[in-house]
Symmetry: C2
C-alpha cells in the first residue's frame, strides 16, 4: 500500500515539534507521503475532558524536563515563548489557506512555524505576526491575513479537526496510516515497523 | 553508579503490564536492581486532575487497540477482566506485607499478579482472592489476609504512594533512576540509553 501517513498535530504541542523533525524522513524511507494536518487540540479536549500537559500539575514539570532532554539528545533548541502554549489558531488557518493554493508550500510553512515558534521568534496566536512570517515564504502578508479569515478557510480548519476527533484523534502528535492509529512522538519507531512489516 | 531503577506502577495499568515483562531483563543488562513499587494511581490523579485511560473517551478505545497490538507483537496474552481496571489496593497491600519479610518473593508475587490479572484469572480488588493466590508462592493465605490489613502495612502502602507523588510520580509505569524521571512503557529504551551513557 502507498496511502499517506496522516500527521495530526497542534502547533503548540511540544511533542509535535519533535515528531515534525523526523516525519518527512520517515515518509521517504517507507515510501509514503505525509499529510500534514494541524488542528486545535482543544477540539479533542472537549470530547476527552483532558487538559493540556502545560496546565496539568506534575505532568507540566515532567514535560518541561523531557522536552529539554529530547532537545539535547537531538541537538535541537527548544525555547517556546514564556507563556507557551499559545493558541495557534491563526497559524492553523494560514496553513490551510496556503494549502488551498500550494500543498508543498504549506508543508514548508508548517515546518517553518515549528522552527520559529520553538525558537521563541513567532507568536502563532497573532495573525499579523503569522502573516508577516508567511511573507518569508514568498507570500503577500496582506493576502495571507485576509485569506486566513475567509469563512471557507475558517470552516475548513474547524471541520477537519472535528472530523479527525470523530475518527478517534485525541492527541498531538497523532498518526493514522492504513487506518491504524499511533499516538505520540514515542510511537514513531513502532509506526515505521508497522508500515514496513504490513502490521501484525 | 549502581543505584536502583525505581519502577512505580499500578497493577491495574495495562502499560505497566508490558513494562513489567521487560524491566528485570533491562536491570540485568545495565547492572541495576529494580525496586518494584506498586502504588494507587488514583493518588496521583487527585493531584493532576487526570482520569484513567479506561474512563477517558477516545483514549480508552485507542488504549484497547494499542494493548492488543503490543501483546500480539510480544506474543503475550492481554485479557484483563471485563470490568478492568479493578482497584488493586488489596494486591498492593499484600505486596508490601510480603516485601517486609522477603523482598525477592514480593517481586515474584508482583510478576505473578500481573500474569494472573491480565489473564483474567485474578481479581486484584478482592483480598480473599489475592491471599489465596499468594498461597501459590508458599505463603499462608490466612496470614496474608491478616497481614495486608495491619495498620502499619496499610500506612506503608499509602505513604509510599504519597511520597512518590510528592516527588513528581504521576503515571504508570513511571521510572526514576539517579533522580531522572521516565514516564511510560515507551520510554524504557530511552531510559536504557540514558543509563548506559550516563545521561546527556
Amino acid at each position: 500500500m502507498t496511502g499517506p501517513i496522516e500527521f495530526w498535530f497542534d502547533f503548540s504541542s511540544g511533542y509535535a515539534f519533535f515528531a515534525a523533525q523526523e516525519i518527512e524522513a520517515l515518509g521517504t524511507r517507507v515510501g509514503r507521503p505525509i499529510l500534514w494536518r494541524p488542528y486545535m487540540l482543544g477540539t479533542a479536549f472537549k470530547v476527552t475532558g483532558a487538559r493540556g500537559l502545560s496546565s496539568t500539575p506534575l505532568k507540566q514539570d515532567y514535560a518541561r524536563t523531557d522536552w529539554q532532554r529530547l532537545a539535547r539528545r537531538a541537538g535541537l533548541t527548544f525555547a517556546p515563548p514564556a507563556d507557551h502554549p499559545r493558541i495557534a489558531l491563526p497559524a492553523t488557518r494560514v496553513f490551510y489557506w496556503i494549502e488551498g493554493q500550494d500543498a508543498a508550500l504549506a508543508v514548508r510553512f508548517a515546518q517553518g512555524v515549528f522552527a520559529a515558534y520553538y525558537a521563541g521568534r513567532l507568536d502563532t496566536a497573532e495573525l499579523d505576526q503569522v502573516a508577516a512570517f508567511a511573507g518569508g515564504f514568498g507570500l503577500d502578508p496582506q493576502a495571507v491575513a485576509a485569506g486566513a479569515v475567509l469563512p471557507e478557510v475558517k470552516a475548513r480548519a474547524r471541520n477537519l479537526g472535528d472530523q479527525a476527533v470523530a475518527r478517534g484523534v485525541f492527541g498531538s502528535p497523532f498518526f493514522i496510516v492504513d487506518g491504524e492509529p499511533f499516538w505520540g512522538a514515542d510511537r514513531v519507531p513502532m509506526m515505521e515497523d508497522w508500515i514496513r512489516s504490513g502490521g501484525w
